[in-house]
Structures are given as C-alpha cells and as structure tokens.
Amino acid sequence: MKFTAYWADRCIARTTETAAIALFLLIPILTAYQVVARFVLQQPSPWSEAAIQMSMIWSTLLGFSILFRQGALLSMDFIEKRVPNRFLNVLSFVHFVAALGLLLVMLFAGLKLIGIVKAQRLAGLGISMAYAYGAIPVGAVVSILTIISRAALLLATRYENSHPPEVPLWADIMAKGNPAPRQEGV
C-alpha cells in the first residue's frame, strides 16, 4: 500500500511537472522564433501565435497541480497562522473540500464543453478546438489526482513515527506544512 501510494504520487508529479515545464519553455522559444521568422526569414509565421497561446494555457493548467502539491496557492493566510492546530485542521479540511469541489466542476463542465466544441477548428493550427479546451478538464484531473495521491501517501506514512506529526493531517494534505513558499504574486 505504502509503496503503491509513493509510486503513484511520484509518477503523477514527475509526468505533470515535466510536461508543464517543457510547455513553459516552449513559450519563449516559439515567441523568439516568431521574431526571427519576421525579421530574418522575412516570412511571418502563420501558426506560431496560436501555438504560443496553447503552450501558455496548457502549461498554466498543468502547473496548477504543482501549486496544490507545494502549498503555493496565493491566499490570505493571516488567520491560519494564528489559530491552534485543531482549528487549523478544520480550516484545511474546508480548503480541501472547496478545492476539490471547484476542480470537479472544472473536470465535468470541461468534458461537456469539449463535446460541444470538437467540430470547431483552432485558427492558425487547424486542429480541433477540443485540444485547446481540453486543458481545463485535463488540468483539473491532474490536480485532483495530485491532491488525492498526496492524501493517500500521507495517510499511509504519517503515523510510522512514534511521536505525533507537528502539522495536523488536513493541513499537511493541503501542503501547509511545507517550508513557507515564496508569495508568487505580481
């Protein structure tokens, strides 16, 4: 059980992160190519703009799961820093339910949407719009898997040590026990 949980968690994290970072790196590469195409090759690229936007949207939605794993989602955390552990656990459980609720709607609504738009074509790339809108349900499902696999892994490994862990369970699942992440706003 422990091994499966660990393996599943690693597998999800590695795959998503690799894909998200690769797509993220494509953004500057394709945009720089667009500049080169116009000035050096004297031939504006007809497809690059659409491809750049797709890289951005897909890397954002896949990167969304990293935020859950790292506890890096921007929030006003001044209350949770000042409450006792038991209350923090309850608050974190609320965050867990809220996040899961939003992600589930993104997943199912996104799937319905794909059914509606699949006949449309994405200008510039000529592919079905389903590949563009697909980022929403895929991003949601990856984030759901991330949260659930993290919860499973923690449940399987948390009570191995004799002394109780410092961070309450639900806070740990929402990654609040991580060393304070940088506040990554503008």
Partner: protein, 421 residues
Amino acid sequence: MTAFMLSFMVGGFALGVPIVVSVGLATLLTMILFTGLPTQVFAQQLFVALHKYPLVAVPLFIFAGALMETGGISTRLVEFAKAVFRGVRGGLAASCVLTCMIFAAVSGSSVATTFAVGSIMIPALVRNGYSRPFASSLQAAAAELGVIIPPSIPLILYAVSAEVSIGDLFIAGIGPGILIGAALIVTVLVYSRIKGGDIGIAQNVQPLAMATQRAFFSLLMPVVVLGGIYGGIFTPTEAAAVAVVYAALVGFFIHGDLKLADIIPVARRSLISTANILMIIAVAGAFSYLISRAGVPASLGRWISENISGATVFLLTVNLALFILGMFLETSASIIILTPILVPVAVHYGIDPIHFGLIMVVNLALGMITPPFGVNLFAACDVGKVSIEQVMPSLLMFVLVVVACLMLITFIPQISLFAVG
C-alpha cells in the same frame, strides 16, 4: 446575486481559502443558484479569459525576471546604484531605490523585484546600521516601482481588459515611476540627514566608471526591451521573449553566473508564479463575465454619475475605494474585475483611459504593501526576516510618500500622458 457572490468570495478570503478557489467557487455557486446558466459556461469563460495573446507577455516577463535574478544582473545593478550614491549620506538607502527603478525597467512584477534586489540590498542596509524593519519596508515600497515602471504585468492586464494599447500604457508608466522613485530617494536622504543614518562612505564601493562598465549589459537591457517596443520593432509580447533570450545570453556567456543546470529550476519557479497569476485571471474572468451579464457595470455607472458630481470627486472616491479594496483583494483579480466596471465611468467624466490605468495600478501597487493582504510586503518581510507588525511604523512613512505621489499622478494627467502620442 452580486451581494451573495461578493460575500462568498470575501468569506473565502478571510478563511484562508486560496484566492483562485474562493473566486472560482463564488462564481460557480452564483451561476448555479441565480442564473440557470449551464456549468459549461464557467469552463468556457475560464478558457476565454486565458485565450488572449497579450497575456503571453506575463509568463515571459516573469521568466526574464527570474533569469536576471539568477544570472547576476541584479548584483551588478546594485553595485552600479551604490557607485552613483557613493559618499552621499543615506546613499545606500537611495541606491536601493535606484536599483529597484532600473530593475523595474526590465521586470514586470514588484514581488520579483523584491526578491531580486531585496536579497542583496536588505542585508547590506542592515550591515550599514539601518534597522531591519526600515530596510524591509523601504525595499517593499521601492519594489512597487516594478509594476509602475514599464514593462508591468498589471499594466498588461489593464490594457487587455480596457482594450487600450499596451505600448501607450507602458510609456505612461515612465513619468509616475520616476516621480515615485525620486520622491522615495529624497525621503531616505532627508531621513538619513535627520536621523544621522549611514554616513555614506560605504566600504567596497566601486568607482562609478568601473561599476558602469561591469553593469553595462544589465543597463543595456531596458534600452533593448523598451526601445524595441517604442521603436515599433516588436510587440510587447515579443519584447518579453527578447528579454528572456537576452537575460539568458548575458547570464550564460557574459556574466557566466547562469549554468545550464539552472534553467529547469528557474523555469519551474517561474511556472509556479505564472500558474498562480494566470489561474486567478481565469477565474476572475468568469467572475467579471457574470457581473457584466447581470448589468452591474451599467447600474453602478448610472449610480455614480447620478450621485457623484464632477471628475474631481469621482477621482477622489475611486482612489479611496481602490486604496481600501487594494488592501484586501489580489491585484490581478482586482484589475480583471474592476476595469470593465470603472473605465466606462471614467471615460464618461472625460478621464483618459490610459491615465486612469496608471491611477488604478499605482493604487493597487499601494495595496501590495499594505496589510492584511500585501504580497509584496510579505515578500519583503520574508527576505528581511521581520514580522509585518514590526515593519508597520517605518512603512507608514513610505506609504504616505506614495499616497502624496498618487494624488499628483491623479490630478496632473500630464505626469502620465506627457509622452503618449
């Protein structure tokens, strides 16, 4: 309906629910309970909010900023700024502001500016006898320039929602940025004179010529990026990609501080910032769709024009409202939600939308350094290793200086518009 949506969202914020989740769920529940729209519309609006080409500049400027931080550009800018104020009493504090101004001219984010400049400047200020709270609050206030001096992510977001030219907005950011920078420099110089702070003979300061030479390629970067945009050579988005390539090349080949192995961690960190900001923009887009659909902008606009007489009162009210909202709301979400509501009213009062954009962004930048929700203040306290309570007294002085500048920017449109074509 609007009341439900707002109170649900604010309640979520207060309970520490992540901002994306609070805004997203508030929108979703309102949609289900009050409108009868199918949930696909929510998913579609998330996509529509992100499917805007100018937004591509956001990840690119974030990535460029992170590359500069790792590639030794910020270190050299600090050395240059120190050399400029060599021998001046309070010069080290002034050089902190100057470094932020130059860094802001290549970075679009104030948090990135705080991390890049603050990690070098705050320890240096503390070594030279400034208190930790003073150093951190100065850094937080000066790093605000990151979003005022172009390029700027909030200005890009405003341009996207108000449908104005990013290039014009960028030009309009220069005047206010220099005004606030100069005001902060004067403040710290006067403060040091009164308090007898650092005497200005900081050790290990390079002569100006040498520092300029070492920082040459760092100083050239704003010229390439901004010159490229204003010269019409490339679009702001392409300029952002040029900034990434330039920062990478200078970091690799000229400074040699950037290693190939750094690229993935830097990209990962930038992706985390990008995902955070863009996901907030996506849900804020859906939120603002619902608000517009319910006719809130029109009725609010009518209410304002019936109850507020004249542009002056309107501007004062807007400033006060934005100042308070900015304390509690996240910057990108505020811009996406408030721009479509406020800009038509501003235009109705004869205020130029470009000028209004600067008023909004300077105001929200203030929100970033005021508690309870000031990401940039958090960042500076994080770097300076002090608590928010400790920085409050010294922060107040800088906030008042910026508020005074904001009043000038609000009532003298020429500060923003003098160079706009």
